[in-house]
Amino acid sequence: MKYLLLGDEAIAQGAIDAGLSGVYAYPGTPSTEITEYIQHQQSKGTHPSIFCKWATNEKTAMEAALGMAYMGKRALVCMKHVGMNVCADAFMNAAITGVNGGLVVLAADDPSMHSSQNEQDSRFYAKFAMIPCLEPSNQQEAYDITRYAFELSEQLKTPILLRVTTRMAHSRAIVETTNEPMPQKTMRLPEDVKRFILLPAFARNNYAHLVEMQKSFGEISGQAGWNTYTKGSCPTKGILTTGIAYNYLMENYQPQMGYSILKVVQYPLPVAMIQQMVADGVQEILVMEEGQPVVEEMIRGMVPSTVAIKGRLTGDLPRVGELTPDSVRLALGLEPLPQHDADALVVSRPPALCQGCGHRDVYAALNEVAREYASPRIFGDIGCYTLGALSPFHALHATVEMGASITMAKGAADAGQHPAIAIIGDSTFTHSGMTGLLDCVNSNANVVVLISDNLTTGMTGGQDSAGTGRIEQICYGLGVAQEHVRVVVPLPKNMEEIKNILREEIEYDGTSVVIARRECIQTLKRHLKAKK
């Protein structure tokens, strides 16, 4: 059958058709739609049961997926690139244990930071963990290669990293799916249990085995058919593309250029193909890759020093941001297409909190109270409420990564700052804030943790939040004194009450939590509509 699918959806459908038994993920742009697609297919009740409930964070997701793969079934873990940092411990060690059933780790990178705080390249993680990486160039390939990834994972008994970037994840194209989806695997215990017990004595053997496997990983990259090399008529110029960079090359390519082209979709890099390119007389290789200059750095050791390597490091392509058909066009030495000038009248329109959003009322109250102090510090976190840093609130003094609001406020308080205030959403709190709150409790740090609880994971479109209905209990359980866990409803009519409670808790010398709870305006609309 043919379908019009986002790259994310093509991956999800590929996983379903590969006999997936469980998808484990925490929402994160641009990866969210993979899990949502599987959840949607499951809600139709037409497929065999696939576990697809959201995980609390990427680390719990990775570990649960490893557990399912341990039992011989096929599991998929999905996350945005920075999620790889959260699950890195589990990920790196899953490469040491290896797997029993197929385990595919999907990392969706966000070059140009459309919805992220950095543009780290997940291919480094594959190299770091010494496992194969797949980077499809189009939506059809994304579907096909996801199915291949599970086969390869089981063949090599190793996790596989599947890497996409925003323009693959969030672009639709026609995808032809198989008529013969695979059934799910039955439970099958690993033959060698010791592999999964990473005592140093066992882990050393596993690691030596992983190192030994590198040669065959490389050979498979050269032979599996995903990487292709085409010798051109121009004897000296070669181009190496990875992932979707190939599309930008083809958008601009003219047959008379005659360049030799190596299209890389599978890693480790196919060394023999690169050396063939050099043997064919190529004296200059232009590397086009989405993300950081990973390949551009790596191939320097694979070719003679007389071969010029060009790309992002040499300024032939922009050092930062995603590739575009325009930047690739210039790198090929072509003139820009004739175009109109940008219109100087146009001003930027940054995103903003929705009208009627509870976070707005939280910031209105918080700002008023904070102004009563000479030097307040408000540490923000990751979610819609990060927009409180922008106009009209300008409320935040830091925002770094998931959960950092609480622990940075603690560190600031430890340094002598008062008031030290953290503002964090409910989903981010359960993702990575709870352990930091325990640290606060253990030293009775003088912080106010403001949990802006909208009962959902809002920024990514309203997914279930792991602690909904239990935020107070979680705080009590972590040891916050009950009288210092305060709950307010962020509405304009409650402004005086909210401000008074904030003042009281700021003046309390110890750890307190203020929960501002009102449903996300977007999910509320959806729920009201569904009721009709």
Binding site: P30, R167, R172, Y248, P336, P338, V347, P351, L353
Partner: protein
């Protein structure tokens, strides 16, 4: 046949519904299609766009190059101007004339409209008013805009209507007929 279209607007205005209908009609015509969307943070009231590419030949890039777009379809007049660099020299702008003002420094509306009108190939319509006159709800304004774009789309009117029927079928006859009325109003306004 090849059409590169930039759909523009403000997060929440409904540009993706336009893309969905055009996409469905294009697929029924056997065309290749690629459509890059914006999800995530910018959907919260920020500027959003979608690159929609249709062709009878396979399409490589998910993104339209600067100077490559045949058509900008915009639900907001300043947002139409944001993508001028992407428009072909002889490309078309089809835009709503109704501003969406959620920023303090929105430029003078008459200047924005004058910039659109200074462009030879432009269609400037009060799509909300046209939706109302057609007896359709305000949310169908995006379908009025779609109707006004049909002459530049390279896809026939009847095929677009068939697409609307397929897309909105499960929402009931009332929604289908309101959307068709809106498309017809936009189509007639430019004829």
């Amino acid at each position: 046949m090849k059409r590169d279209i930039i759909l523009a607007g403000v997060g929440g205005q409904g540009i993706l519904s336009i893309a969905t209908v055009i996409g469905d009609a294009a697929l029924s015509e056997g065309l290749y299609l690629k459509q890059a969307e914006v999800h995530g943070m910018s959907q919260r009231g920020g500027d959003v766009q979608s690159n929609l590419r249709l062709s009878s030949e396979p399409i490589h890039s998910d993104l339209i190059p600067k100077g490559g777009a045949d058509l900008i379809i915009s639900l907001e007049p300043m947002e139409a101007l944001r993508y001028m660099e992407y428009l072909k020299e002889d490309g078309w702008i089809v835009t709503s004339s109704v501003p969406f003002v959620n920023i303090p420094n929105y430029p003078a509306l008459e200047e924005v409209l004058a910039h659109v009108q200074a462009f030879e190939h432009h269609v400037l319509l009060d799509v909300e008013q046209l939706a109302k006159e057609a007896g359709a709800p305000a949310q169908a304004a995006n379908m009025v805009l779609l109707g006004a774009s049909i002459p530049m789309l390279g896809i026939e009117y009847d095929k677009v209507i068939a697409g609307v029927k397929r897309i909105f079928e499960r929402k009931g006859e009332k929604v289908v007929s309101a959307n068709i009325a809106a498309i017809e109003a936009g189509y007639k306004a430019v004829k």
